[in-house]
């Protein structure tokens, strides 16, 4: 046990036919062996009564499995998400039964809607007590069914190897997602003959990748080649499919202006000449307006979220739509496609690239440039070079980005700062923008940044968080303290729940209903967790404070007081067409 894993021991025994090919292990040990074979190095979790046998077994595995003790199970799921998003691997979470498991729900829902691969292991009461309202018993399987890609309750240790193999396969294949495995305490304790662990590569009823139909690729290429104003929208599917190179090759050959969803950011660098900006409610002016002017719309690995499309009945009605997606259920779900291209875009994009003509679309690109000019004049210039005494969120992001040269992983929470960060950060690398897209989970950033750092240990990880969201999961400062991880934290404090306040200002006649939020002394709070920090409210201190933060060898909290009533523009108001995007 000290020198080799049980799996190795089993395989050695198997090599010698004289000996028995199995080893007797507990369900808990089988689980940990399975995780090692799956390449897991970090687990985020919190122990409790019903998962104690697994934690007991973990005691002997601390040289192979790094367990990070979070301060709340929600933090464990977000950390697992951050880890998965930066590393491309599966995030792993442990939690106990009852409240431990119910605390996972927010993170599971977030991972489900953002297609993040997670495997969550929850302990459960003894099988003989199931359904008796036992201490810390909840029906975890039924609670988590709507927010998982798959879940399963293990009541017998012999199921563990196969179920864990399935869990990892399902979590990471096809359109990724979270999986929850609930293991009763008796199954964790039960000893059984462990015949080794085999990864799962096939499930009879599960088709993770639809079969690519070449005739649709041909039709799509035909449409693209005849288009005068083609427009590419890309989403996280490009990153999840590790198809960044294939995507770049496609846009560079076809010369089509390309815009991204929040989760697609960074798949090609922000300053790539064919990258025309961000889509959606707070996206850029040109991409939104010109969505309703293009003749062929090519959507790649994105799901036409309502924050992207605005009013659907007025969305790109003039365009023929080509939709590339790995999930057949996404095609025609919101926007009816002219040519559906089912499949993994890592496979379909090269096929398409081979058939499209090399073009430049100069005139069409100039239209985007015109809109960019207008947006710079009316919005961006003011935001990034304010003349007011108070700092704006945009200038903080801009300076942070300049100092980190666009190489940092930026983890954002939810709200105005998130939209500002997505709009103004320059991402030179893929897997750099970690944020809660679909669920919009306040409290996401701090724990996700912890996970993101474990997933990308050689990169600078900066969590950019609002004063509201920070207070939802700020107890994870304790996790940073204990794990000694290096996470830079920037709190953009506007003393408001800014995004809600913006809506109240614009749509509710400035009736500011419960958006005025008071905060503790964040720097003192960090100090209580032995994390150095600084608070600034003067522009002239910004560069030195950012440098001090980034040069600090470990974590650092920088609180920046920003202007109170600033709005994020442009904006597509709720219920409006993308072409009705407002600059002010």
């Amino acid at each position: 046990m000290e020198t080799q894993t049980i799996a190795q021991e089993v395989s050695e025994k198997t090599a010698e036919p004289a000996k028995s090919p199995t080893t007797e292990v507990s369900g808990s040990e089988a689980l940990l062996e399975a995780l090692i074979v799956e390449g897991v190095d970090t687990i985020f979790g919190y122990p409790g009564g019903a998962i104690m046998p697994i934690y007991d077994a973990l005691y002997h595995y601390n040289d192979k499995l790094n367990h990070i003790l979070v301060r709340h199970e929600q933090g464990a799921t977000h950390a697992g998400q951050g880890y998965a998003r930066t590393s491309g691997k599966v995030g792993v979470v442990f939690a106990t039964s009852g409240p431990g498991a119910t605390n996972l729900v927010t993170g599971l829902a977030d991972a489900q809607i953002d297609s993040t691969p997670l495997v969550c292991i929850t302990g459960q009461v003894f099988a003989s007590l199931l359904g008796t309202d036992a201490f810390q018993e909840t029906d975890v399987i039924n609670i988590t069914t709507p927010v998982t890609k798959w879940n399963y309750q293990v009541t017998d240790a012999t199921e563990i190897p196969e179920v864990i193999a399935k869990a990892f396969y399902i979590a990471k294949s096809g359109r990724p997602g979270p999986v929850l495995i609930d293991i009763t305490k008796n199954a964790q304790i039960q000893k059984f003959d462990f015949a080794g662990y085999e990864k799962c590569e096939h499930i009879r009823s599960y088709r993770p990748k639809p079969i690519v139909r070449p005739q649709y690729i041909k039709e799509a290429a035909g449409l693209i080649n005849s288009a005068k104003k083609p427009f590419v929208l890309w989403g996280q599917g490009v990153i999840l499919g590790s198809a960044e190179q294939e995507f770049k090759a496609f846009v560079e050959k076809s010369g089509i202006p390309s815009a991204w969803t929040v989760l697609g950011a960074g798949a090609i660098p922000t300053d790539h000449p064919l990258n025309v900006g961000m889509l959606g409610m707070h996206g850029n002016y040109g991409p939104n307006v010109l969505t309703n002017e293009c003749d062929v719309l090519i959507a790649i690995g994105m799901r036409f979220d309502d924050r992207v499309t605005g009013r659907l009945d007025k969305y790109a009605k003039q365009a023929k739509v080509i939709h590339l997606d790995i999930d057949p259920a996404e095609i025609d779900k919101n926007v009816k496609s002219t040519v559906p291209v089912w499949g993994d875009c890592k496979e379909t994009l090269p096929m398409l690239t081979a058939l499209v003509d090399k073009k430049e679309h100069t005139e069409w690109h100039n239209k985007f440039k015109d809109y960019t000019r207008q947006e710079v004049e009316q919005v961006i210039h003011q935001e990034l070079n304010p003349t007011t005494a108070e700092m704006t969120m945009g200038e903080v992001i801009k300076q942070l980005n300049e100092i980190t040269k666009g190489e940092a992983v930026i983890v954002t929470d939810v709200g105005q700062h998130q939209m500002v960060a997505c709009r103004y950060a320059q991402f030179n690398q893929t897997r750099s923008n970690v944020t809660s897209g679909g669920l919009g989970t306040m409290g996401f950033a701090l724990p996700a940044a912890i996970g993101a750092k474990f997933g990308a240990q050689n990169r600078t990880v900066v969590a950019v968080i609002g004063d509201g969201g920070f207070q939802m999961t700020c107890q994870e400062l304790g996790t940073i303290m204990q794990s000694g991880i290096d996470v830079k934290i920037v709190i953009l404090n506007n003393r408001f729940l800014g995004m809600v306040r913006q809506w109240q200002e614009l749509f509710n006649a400035r009736r500011y209903s419960f958006v005025d939020i008071e905060s503790p002394d964040f720097v003192a709070l960090a100090a209580a967790y032995r994390i150095p920090g600084k608070r600034i409210d003067d522009r002239k201190d910004l560069p030195s404070a950012l440098n001090e933060m980034l040069n600090n060898p470990g974590s650092f909290l920088l609180e920046v007081m920003v202007t109170k009533e600033n709005n994020v523009f442009p904006m597509v108001p709720q219920g409006c067409s993308v072409a009705e995007i407002r600059l002010k």
């Binding site: 709507p146 012999t158 009879r204 009823s205």
Partner: protein, 201 residues
């Protein structure tokens, strides 16, 4: 929206699945989260061991049904989903009617009743008799109307089962699935109700 309302009609959704605990819930959630009422739901083993067949009837527009079908098919344990209008399927429902034997013997011309309604006596006991009919809703409803005046004691109707007219059947594909990778039985929870001496901590 109005347009969709007009095109609402009954659809028969056929789902082939693994025999897996909890899958019914996963499938049901797909309907409930969209606030769609399931008019009829039947699930039973198919002709292949370990594969189950669901028959779900809802009243919706085709667009909605198509999207639902894809969401159902997305579930890991679902092999295949089809949807059909009533014109595309042959369907039946089974109905059982419990009557007082005395009343039936005294007041009803049983022979005529059975013949005219295609009914069958399943059980005849001193105290009660159970009739059975199968057919479409109107047909089974008809017998209720006839029996009601004589004191129908209990009535029950099954969910709809349907066979697709224009299909060579999923049977051969299912057999192919089974041949390539035979299904495995879900391990039963052998610890339940054993009352073993255990503690929760």
């Amino acid at each position: 929206m109005d347009n969709q309302e007009i095109h609402k009609q009954e659809y028969n959704i056929t789902v082939y699945t693994e025999n897996q605990i909890g899958l019914l819930n996963r499938i049901a959630i797909i309907f409930t989260r969209r606030k769609i009422n399931i008019d009829s739901l039947n699930t039973s083993p198919s002709e292949i061991e370990s594969i189950h067949r669901f028959n779900i009837v809802i009243n919706e527009s085709e667009d909605v049904v198509r999207k639902l079908t894809r969401q159902i098919e997305k579930q890991v344990e679902v092999l295949k989903v089809y949807y059909h209008t009533n014109d595309d399927v042959i369907w039946q429902e089974l109905a059982l009617y419990k009557m007082s034997t005395d009343v039936i013997a005294e007041k009803v011309s049983v022979e005529r009743l059975l013949r005219e309604n295609g009914a069958r006596a399943v059980v005849i006991r001193k105290d009660y008799t159970v009739f059975e009919t199968t057919g479409h809703r109107e047909e089974t409803d008809n017998l209720i109307k006839i029996l009601q005046p004589y004191g129908l004691i209990e009535f029950v109707r099954s969910a709809r089962v349907a066979i697709i007219k224009n299909s060579k059947g999923f049977n051969s594909k299912l057999r192919e699935f089974e041949r390539l990778e035979p299904g495995e039985d879900v391990i039963e929870n052998e610890y339940l109700n054993k009352g073993q001496k255990v503690f929760t901590m």
